[in-house]
């Protein structure tokens, strides 16, 4: 069954329609790549899923639960949005690590704040802290950063920062992890190390949506590809369908720029 269903989502900024009738679904454990030129609406779509933007129309469902329905104001309550956000994780292009915290603290912060709100927190404070610390340590270890845990973001390379950001998102155990051009701010060498980590997550069947311009990577890692243009889904299918047999002229045109390189 689909873990994520998106139906007829639309969004405008002023008079500019940035998303037009977006519909797709994603199965658990699968990877979806969103490709398309800049300004095609990929990032806005991710931001809508993470409740950073509110769509003007459409429905978003996760595990059968309706998280957002433009026709039902009850799904837009501010207090509920916070809980709903936790279904999704988002890794930003510019990392957005918290500069005053170490790598380990960055990964622990949100989880600890969430636990603090539970009624039994005070009694089990030390135990909870230890557990969160151990989990965060494991995640950073998995990202190949076991010797960088006590470093501050400014002491890390871009690739290391992005891996900390991935660990930070994973710490909240999201159902679906989203990446917004995770390697666009990195040089080719650092891009490789981040892509390797994402590939590793795909192998562990982490459900992911990846906005990327790395076509070879998208082809290799994803089970599903969506090509967007001018706020619309122009084409979607398996990597083989979209990359090898694109039906739309616009898709061919877009992809030719990458294959000619």
């Amino acid at each position: 069954m689909a873990i994520l269903e998106v139906q007829h989502v639309s969004k405008s900024f002023g008079h500019t329609e940035v998303l037009k009738d977006i519909s797709f679904s994603l199965d658990k454990g699968k990877v979806l790549s969103l490709i398309g030129s800049s300004g095609s609406g990929k990032t806005t779509l991710l931001r809508c899923l993470n409740f950073l933007e509110r769509p003007d129309g459409g429905v978003i469902r996760v595990n059968g639960e309706t998280l957002f329905d433009a026709g039902d104001r009850a799904t837009m309550k501010e207090g509920e949005i916070r809980r709903k956000r936790l279904h999704f994780g988002l890794v930003f292009q510019s990392f957005n690590l918290f500069p005053q915290y170490t790598a380990l603290q960055n990964v622990m912060l949100a989880k600890e704040l969430l636990e603090k709100e539970k009624t039994d927190y005070k009694a089990r404070k030390k135990e909870i802290h230890k557990q969160i610390e151990a989990e965060a340590g494991n995640l950073l270890d998995q990202m190949g950063l076991s010797d960088r845990m006590d470093n501050y973001p400014h002491q890390l390379s871009g690739g290391q920062c992005q891996r900390v950001a991935i660990a930070r998102a994973l710490a909240m155990k999201p159902d679906i992890l989203c990446f917004d051009e995770p390697t666009s701010a990195l040089d080719p060498e650092l891009t490789g190390e981040v892509l390797k980590v994402i590939k590793g997550l795909a192998d562990q069947e982490t459900t992911m949506i990846i906005v990327t311009h790395e076509m070879a990577f998208a082809r290799d890692v994803s089970s599903q590809v969506i090509f967007m243009d001018g706020g619309r889904i122009m084409e979607q299918g398996t990597p083989a369908e979209v990359f090898e047999n694109p039906k739309e002229e616009r898709t061919k045109q877009f992809l030719s720029r990458f294959t000619n390189q």
């Binding site: 950073l52 500069p99 005053q100």
Partner: protein, 226 residues
Amino acid sequence: MTFAEQFPIVIQALNTGFLQTLKLFFVTLLGAIPLGLIISFGSMSRFKPLSYFTKIVVWIIRGTPLMIQLLIIYFMPGLMGNNIWGGGESGRFLAASIAFIFNYACYFSEIYRGGIQGVPKGQEEAGLVLGMTKSQIFFKVKLLQMVKRIVPPMSNEIITLVKDTSLSRIISLQEVIFAGQSFMKGNMGIAGVIWPLFFTAVYYLIFNGILTVLLGRLEKKLEYFR
């Protein structure tokens, strides 16, 4: 009276005066630091009437001399037939405190606004997608980054405040300038000497020296992140 005889008497009077200077300085800081934050939230409010109102108030306070504000706050109630301050030193101190707190809060609010708006939008968004509340994001993520940004301009204002306290001389608050001047007219058997007034500068200079070192240390302490 020889200079050697005058000196201890003058120093004692100046010490007493400087104590009042310090009191006004610390009371102003204590009041203006939080009030400035409230005013900055007002001027950044998305509720337009509130933000316009706040901006007009800040414009008036920053656009007119503190000395005039002191005079108005101290003398207006009496002129209107209700002298709420009373005649004594405590009344003058209260009036001066209110004028200073309000004036400095307006300056601080603009520094805070710059500090808050200077924190990248991505910090808030990162907090939101991690399921943090707006207040958690403010206190746990943005506040320290904002403090780091505002320490240098705040240091400037704080050092200016030390010297601005002397403006309260205009309503005869008995701070250090008042004490120094008293020896010109005549006080404790000393009259017609001007050096005590000049000597008050040493008090400001030493105190600002201490503040410069302390604020410099705070700035250094926040250098552990960028």
